[in-house]
């Protein structure tokens, strides 16, 4: 038989444990709810026809989101081509020169860049790329998204490489390897899983970005693969069609939402698999 004050404390401890369980479960609920809601609304809209056709004019049933799918893939591809090499190289610089003045400013600006609202990046891309060339283009959208990717790629590369032991670099240097070979043949290959996971997460991050594309890629009701022309993308399509007054367009928006969700989910899971599989055991 325990004295009552011990019982009281045990009871309090038990209550607190239960509370942590409930709150942890509460974190899962929104994701489940969103998944459930969007799958319910979107899954009936998706079929082969939906994926390979472009939207039909208002009043006609059917139509698909092929233009947005192709556009999203192209815009993200170009953004990756711009941001990944720059990001990885900057990350290498930061991990190699931890205390230099440039590293300090570079780190500070990536931190700030990470916090800049995406709409502001869109405006900047508009003034730098859309206005001077006088037209909306997929390329300007890619540039805006590339800016959003940069901080994630830079910091994840830096954090990964910082964790590698110095002995690894010394081993390579002691074999007479020049700096660039040490980086490309030893440091980056050993850190590849961390770098790759940063890259994938940054892609997952920009996939759903709408604001930077509003006045750069602009959107396009037709299938276009010209990077210098306006181009449709999934988030733009959802934004435009979901706010329209037509039921057919609402259906398209639901279907597109589900595609977008699956895409991001898949990227996140794929990142986890790749990170585990490519991890180099030190």
């Amino acid at each position: 038989m325990q004295p009552s004050h011990v019982k009281y404390r045990l009871g309090k401890s038990y209550g607190f444990q239960i509370l942590t369980y409930i709150l942890a479960f509460a974190c899962v609920v929104p994701l489940i709810a969103i998944l459930f809601f969007i799958i319910k609304a979107g899954v009936t809209k998706i079929n082969w026809h939906f994926l390979v056709n472009i939207p039909k004019p208002v009043g006609e049933t059917g139509g698909g989101i092929a233009n947005a799918l192709v556009g999203s893939i192209l815009i993200i591809l170009v953004a990756s081509v711009i941001a990944i090499p720059i990001g990885i190289m900057a990350g290498v610089y930061l991990s190699e020169n931890r205390k230099s003045r440039l590293a300090y400013w570079c780190r500070l600006s990536t931190d700030i860049l990470q916090g800049v609202p995406s709409i502001v990046i869109g405006i900047v891309a508009y003034f730098w790329l859309v206005k001077p060339f006088g037209k909306f283009s997929a390329l300007s959208g890619s540039a805006a998204l590339a800016i959003m990717m940069l901080p994630i790629v830079i910091r994840s590369t830096e954090e990964t490489l910082k964790l590698l032991p110095d002995s690894l670099k010394e081993a390579a240097l002691a074999l007479g390897m020049p700096f660039h070979r040490v980086i490309f043949k030893v440091i980056i290959p050993v850190g590849v899983s961390g770098i790759l996971s940063g890259v994938m997460l940054s892609i997952a991050r920009i996939t759903g970005e709408t604001a930077p594309l509003l006045f750069t890629a602009f959107g396009n009701p037709y299938l276009s693969t010209k990077l210098t022309q306006p181009m449709q993308s999934l988030p733009l399509l959802i934004f435009n069609y979901a706010t329209s007054p037509y039921n057919e367009w609402h259906d398209l928006a639901w279907g597109a939402s589900l595609i977008l969700l699956v895409w991001v989910l898949f990227l996140n899971i794929f990142t986890k698999i790749v990170t585990r599989k490519w991890k180099v055991q030190l």
């Binding site: 002995s167 010394e170 081993a171 390579a172 002691a174 074999l175 007479g176 020049p178 050993v190 590849v192």
Partner: protein
Amino acid sequence: MESTVIKSRNFNASFGSNHVVKNVNIDIPRNHVIAVMGPSGCGKTTYLRCINRMHELIPGASSSGEMKLNDEDVYQMHPIFVRLKIGMVFQRPNPFPNLSIYDNVIAGYKLNGIKLPKAERDRIVEHSLTRVALWNEVKDSLNKKGSFLSGGQQQRLCIARAVAMEPEVLLFDEPTSALDPISTSTVEELFHELKVNYTLIIVTHNMQQAARVSDKTAFFFMGELVEYDDTKIMFTNPKDNRTQNYITGRFS
């Protein structure tokens, strides 16, 4: 043939304002095993890292004086060529974790972009692994990652990697301090084999090891080279009081 392979004159090294190696003069004869011993912080590792110019990689590090490899000043050569001629083995085994055992041995060629025919590569790998008495243990698992080996095997793999480049001098920075006694004795046996082709400079703070493996011993204390002589003389009849105190265990 007794010729000098490494020669330093008035050699100094520092980290910022911290003067770690003071005025070292030393002649290292070819095909000998030289032990460099001394208490912690005496500058022995720093001196070793100056020989193949690894010291200068540390921010704030500097050095002055003469360091010659076969009468050619190491500090006038490009560091890459220096390090091809003077190999190094570190305190902790550090095989490349992303490479197989085979690729680790020829890493010096492969990662430097030197193309070799397959037969030549196979020969180098087998030869180098045989030299470090590892061939029989790993010949059936050459495609496995180097990090699967035990610590002692990894260290021999690292020696094989250095040997594969056919350097003139091999530097060892406390090569057995992270190994168990059995692996240590295997590595120590290698030193006798390797000195036929190379000159070995071994930093150690283990006096017994210095006595066991070396032909000549250098004793560093507070950044100075106190005494440098044949190992037998150093351990039986040292001239300097500080050497005497160190080897009799009065301080360490």
